[in-house]
C-alpha cells in the first residue's frame, strides 16, 4: 500500500501541474485585457502599457508561466491585481468556511440520500419508493438560487429558526448545507437504491434471505458494504468539487466561501486569484479522489491497491 501511495502522490503532482498548464493557457486565450481593467477607464494607452509592464504581462507566456510555477514552489501565489493583497491570504480567509460548508453539505447529502435510497430499494415499487423517487428528482431539478431564497424566506425570515444567512456558528451552517443536501441527496438516493437492488439480486443474498435470515441483518452484513462503493466515489467527487466553491449557494446565503472569490476573480480577470483558486481546488480534488481510492479495498477486500 505504501508503494501505491507513493506512486499516487507522484501522479497527483503531475495532475496539479497539468491543471496549472491548462488554466494558464485558458487565461491566455481569455478575451479581456487585465492591464486595461487595472489601469482604469480614464487611462491613456501609455498608462496601460506601463501597468502591463508592472503586472509582468508584457513578458512571453512561457516566461510568465515559469515565473508563476517558481512562485508556487516557494509558496508564493502572487498578489491579487485588484485587491493588491497576497492571494494566499485571500485563499486562507476562505479555507475554513469552505471546508465547513463542504463537510456539512456532504453530510446532509448522505443523511438525506442514504436512508432514502435504502428504503426505496427495500420497498421497491411501492408508494414509498415512488415518493422518494419524486422527491429525489425534484431536489435535483430545483434551481438552487430559488431553493435557497425559499429556505431563507420560510425557515429564517418567517419562522425565525435560523439566521438570515451570513457566516458564524453551526446555526448559520444549517441552511446552506441543507440546500446542498437537497440538491445532492437525490443523487445519493438514486445511486444507493440501484446499488442496493443490484446487491440484493445476487445469489448469496437471495440464498440468505430464502434461508429466513432477517431482512435487516442481510442488508447490513452483506449488501450495504458492497453497495457503498459507488457512494464513496460520489463522496470523493463532491468533497473535491465543493472545495472548489458552490457559487450559487454561497451567494444566496452570504457564505464567504471560495466560490464567490473565484467567481468575482473570473469576472474581473484577476489572474493571480484565478490561478490560485484553481490550483487550490485541484489540490482538494486530487486529495479527495485519492482518499476514495484508498477506501474501496477496505469496503471490498477483493479490490486491491494497484
Amino acid at each position: 500500500m505504501m508503494a501505491y501511495l507513493a506512486q499516487r502522490v507522484l501522479q497527483s503532482l503531475g495532475v496539479l501541474w497539468a491543471v496549472t498548464v491548462i488554466t494558464f493557457a485558458l487565461l491566455y486565450l481569455l478575451p479581456a485585457d487585465p492591464a486595461r481593467l487595472v489601469a482604469g477607464r480614464s487611462a491613456t494607452p501609455e498608462v496601460v502599457e506601463r501597468v502591463r509592464h508592472e503586472l509582468g504581462l508584457d513578458r512571453p507566456i512561457l516566461q510568465r508561466y515559469l515565473g508563476y510555477l517558481g512562485g508556487v514552489l516557494q509558496g508564493d501565489l502572487g498578489r491579487s491585481y485588484l485587491q493588491k493583497i497576497q492571494v494566499s491570504e485571500l485563499l486562507a480567509s476562505r479555507l475554513v468556511p469552505t471546508l465547513e460548508l463542504t463537510l456539512a453539505g456532504v453530510l446532509f447529502e448522505l443523511l438525506l440520500g442514504i436512508p432514502a435510497g435504502i428504503l426505496a430499494a427495500l420497498r421497491r415499487g411501492g408508494w414509498l419508493d415512488q415518493g422518494i423517487m419524486l422527491l429525489s428528482f425534484a431536489g435535483v431539478a430545483a434551481p438552487q438560487f430559488a431553493l435557497g431564497l425559499l429556505l431563507l424566506y420560510v425557515l429564517a425570515y418567517k419562522l425565525a429558526l435560523f439566521p438570515l444567512g451570513g457566516y458564524g456558528g453551526w446555526e448559520h451552517l444549517v441552511l446552506p448545507a441543507l440546500a446542498l443536501g437537497l440538491a445532492g441527496g437525490g443523487w445519493y438516493a438514486r445511486i444507493m437504491r440501484s446499488s442496493m437492488l443490484e446487491v440484493l439480486s445476487q445469489d448469496y443474498v437471495r440464498t440468505a434471505r430464502a434461508k429466513g435470515l432477517a431482512g435487516p441483518v442481510v442488508v447490513y452484513k452483506h449488501a450495504l458494504r458492497n453497495a457503498l462503493l459507488p457512494i464513496v466515489a460520489m463522496i470523493g467527487t463532491d468533497l473535491g468539487t465543493f472545495m472548489g466553491g458552490v457559487v450559487v449557494v454561497e451567494s444566496v446565503f452570504g457564505w464567504p466561501g471560495i466560490g464567490q472569490l473565484t467567481w468575482q476573480a473570473i469576472q474581473t480577470v484577476d489572474i493571480p486569484v484565478i490561478l490560485g483558486a484553481v490550483t487550490f481546488t485541484a489540490l482538494f480534488i486530487v486529495l479527495a479522489n485519492l482518499l476514495a481510492d484508498l477506501v474501496y479495498p477496505l469496503l471490498d477486500p477483493r479490490v486491491q491497491y494497484r
Binding site: 479581456a32 486595461r36 498608462v47 485587491q83 425570515y157 451570513g166 468575482q264
Partner: protein, 531 residues
C-alpha cells in the same frame, strides 16, 4: 491676481450640534470590498468608504455637487488657469496622530502617479506639468507639484483644465501619510490610515468591514456615528429581508428589482425610500467605423426607432428616458433639447434614403447582468420593427469592454452595467473619456469610435474657462458641443437612471445625504441614529 476663497466648514459645525452623536449603523453590499487604498479603489462598494476614511484638498458641500475646500483652507487660480495654489489647514491630523503637511500632498499625488502603484485614476492627472517625465522614470519627482512652505501646495498644469478642482476632490488625490504607506507596503489597502471622519477598526476578509469614529477629525462634531458596519456578500434579496428584520440599516445595492414595485406601493415601506438623481446616462454606441453605421443617416434612423418609454417601464420606471448625452443635473444639460423622438415611420424613411429600404443585419453586445440582457432584447425588438436585425451577444462585462475597445469589432453596444456614471460632476467627464478622438483608440472607452476634431478643439477651449464666473459660459459651450455630437448621432441615449436608497427607520440624515451625488451611495459622515 489671486483671490482666496474661504471654506464653509463653520456652517456644518453648527449643523452638527443638532444631532445626538453615537450609535451604529449597518450597510449591506453584495460584492466584496476589494481595497481601501484611495489610489486604487474604484468600485461601487469602496468609493464612499474611502471617502469616509480619507479626504482630499477639495470636497463638495454635503448632498450637492458644489465644490468647497476640505483639507485646504482655500485656493487660488492663476489668471492663465495653469497654476493652482492651495493653502492647507493647520492642525489636521492623520489617524496615526501626525499632522498633515504640504509634503504629504505631494507624496500622495506622486505615489498615485507612480506606475508601480497601478492606480486606475492616474489618467486623470496626466495634465500636471512634469508627470510624463516622472512616469517614464526620467525625473525623481513631479516638477509641477511644488511645496513653497509646509502649508502651501502649488500645482502647475500643461494647459488649463476647468475640471481640475474636481480632480482634487476625487478619491485618487486623497492624502495619505508616507510612513503608514511604507510600513504597510502593498497591504496599505487593507490597513488604511487617512485623515477622514472614520478609521478602520476591523476587517474580516469576505465578511465585514467595521469603521469607528475618528475623534481627531478636523470638522468638530463629525461624524455622528460611533461605528459603521459594512456587511459584504449579501444578496440584495436577502439584504432586503434583513432590513425588515432590523439587521441591516442601508441597502448598499439598492432595492432588489423583484421587490421594487411592492415597496413603492406600500405606504409604510415607501417612507424608507429616498429618491435621488445620479449623473448617469445609459446608451447604445453605434460604431461610426463599421458599415453601415458609418452613415450618419443610418445612425439617426436607429435613434428614431427606439421606444425608450417602454424600456424605462421594463426597469419599473426607475429611470427617465434620455435624449442627450448629459444627464439632468450636469452643467450643460439642456432641458429644452428634444433629440430624436420615437418615430419608426420616419426611421424607415431615413433608412430608405440611406440605401437600406429592407434594413440590414448587425450585432448588439450587452453585459450579461440583469436587467441588461432584457434591455438589449427590448432594443433588439424595436430595431427589428424597422428591419434592422440585431443579433445579441450577452457576455461577461470584461469581454464586452474588450470588444468595445477593439477596432472594428462591436457594431453596437448597450452600455448598461458598464458606462457611464460621472467620475466628477463636470461635463468634460462625458466628453474626453467616451467621445473624444483621443479615446477612440484600442482599449479606449469610446466604443462608438467617434472622432470629431472640431469638437475636440471646442472642448479644449471650454476647458480653458477656469475662472469663477465663467461657469455659465462654459456650461453653454458644452451644451453646444453635445448638441453637435447628437447631430452626428454616435449614440442612442436610452435613459438616465435614478437612485433609490432604502434604509431602516432608525437611519437619520437629510434626503440629500442619503442619495449624495458625490459620496455614492451615502455620505456616511452626516448619518445619525434616530432616537
Amino acid at each position: 491676481m489671486n483671490r482666496w476663497i474661504l471654506a464653509l466648514a463653520l456652517s456644518f459645525t453648527l449643523l452638527a450640534q443638532a444631532q445626538s452623536p453615537g450609535g451604529s449603523l449597518t450597510v449591506s453590499f453584495k460584492d466584496d470590498i476589494s481595497t481601501l487604498d484611495p489610489a486604487i479603489g474604484y468600485d461601487w462598494q469602496n468609493w464612499s468608504i474611502i471617502k469616509a476614511i480619507f479626504g482630499g484638498l477639495m470636497d463638495y458641500e454635503p448632498g450637492t455637487t458644489k465644490l468647497v475646500p476640505h483639507f485646504a483652507q482655500g485656493y487660488s487660480i492663476a489668471k492663465d488657469g495653469k497654476s493652482y495654489t492651495f493653502k492647507l489647514r493647520k492642525g489636521i491630523k492623520f489617524q496615526n496622530g501626525r499632522e498633515m503637511v504640504a509634503a504629504d500632498v505631494k507624496y500622495s499625488l506622486e505615489r498615485m502617479l507612480n506606475p508601480k502603484t497601478q492606480s486606475p485614476g492616474a489618467g486623470f492627472y496626466t495634465g500636471i506639468t512634469g508627470v510624463a517625465d516622472y512616469v517614464a522614470g526620467k525625473a525623481k519627482e513631479v516638477s509641477g507639484i511644488q511645496i513653497p512652505d509646509p502649508y502651501t501646495v502649488r500645482i502647475l498644469l500643461d494647459k488649463p483644465d476647468a475640471s481640475f478642482l474636481h480632480k482634487m476632490a476625487l478619491n485618487f488625490s486623497f492624502i495619505v501619510p508616507k510612513e503608514a504607506v511604507e510600513k504597510a507596503g502593498a497591504d496599505f489597502g487593507h490597513n488604511p490610515v487617512g485623515a477622514g471622519a472614520f478609521k478602520l477598526k476591523e476587517w474580516k476578509l469576505g465578511q465585514q468591514v467595521v469603521l469607528e469614529r475618528n475623534p481627531d477629525y478636523f470638522q468638530k462634531g463629525l461624524p455622528y456615528l460611533d461605528t459603521l458596519v459594512f456587511l459584504v456578500g449579501q444578496d440584495p434579496n436577502v439584504a432586503f429581508l434583513k432590513l425588515q428584520r432590523g439587521e441591516v440599516d442601508i441597502l448598499g445595492d439598492g432595492i432588489p428589482p423583484a421587490k421594487f414595485v411592492d415597496v413603492m406601493k406600500d405606504p409604510k415601506l415607501k417612507q424608507q425610500v429616498v429618491v435621488g438623481n445620479q449623473l448617469m446616462t445609459g446608451y447604445v454606441t453605434l460604431n461610426t467605423q463599421i458599415k453601415p453605421l458609418d452613415n450618419p443617416k443610418v445612425r439617426q434612423a436607429l435613434n428614431l426607432a427606439i421606444n425608450k418609454e417602454r424600456i424605462v417601464r421594463l426597469i419599473n420606471n426607475r429611470a427617465v428616458p434620455a435624449v442627450q448625452v448629459l444627464p439632468p443635473g450636469m452643467p450643460g444639460y439642456d432641458p429644452s433639447y428634444k433629440g430624436y423622438p420615437y418615430d419608426p415611420a420616419k426611421a424607415k424613411q431615413l433608412l430608405k434614403e440611406a440605401g437600406f429600404p429592407n434594413g440590414f443585419s448587425t450585432v448588439l453586445y450587452a453585459n450579461n447582468t440583469d436587467p441588461n440582457p432584457r434591455i438589449a432584447q427590448a432594443i433588439q425588438q424595436d430595431l427589428a420593427q424597422i428591419g434592422v436585425k440585431a443579433e445579441l451577444k450577452t457576455q461577461a462585462q470584461s469581454t464586452v469592454i474588450q470588444a468595445g475597445g477593439t477596432k472594428g469589432q462591436a457594431p453596437m453596444i448597450w452600455s448598461g452595467g458598464m458606462a457611464w456614471i460621472d467620475d466628477y460632476p463636470d461635463p468634460n467627464d462625458f466628453y474626453w473619456p467616451i467621445l473624444s478622438c483621443a479615446s477612440a483608440v484600442p482599449g479606449g472607452w469610446n466604443w462608438a469610435w467617434y472622432c470629431n476634431p472640431t469638437l475636440d478643439r471646442r472642448a479644449e477651449a471650454a476647458d480653458a474657462m477656469v475662472q469663477p464666473g465663467q461657469e455659465a459660459a462654459r456650461a453653454k459651450a458644452y451644451q453646444g458641443i453635445f448638441a453637435e455630437v447628437m447631430k452626428d448621432a454616435p449614440w442612442i441615449p436610452i435613459f438616465h437612471e435614478k437612485r433609490y436608497l432604502m434604509h431602516s427607520p432608525k437611519v437619520g440624515g437629510s434626503d440629500a445625504i442619503l442619495v449624495d451625488p458625490i459620496h455614492t451611495p451615502v455620505n456616511y459622515a452626516y448619518l445619525y441614529v434616530k432616537r
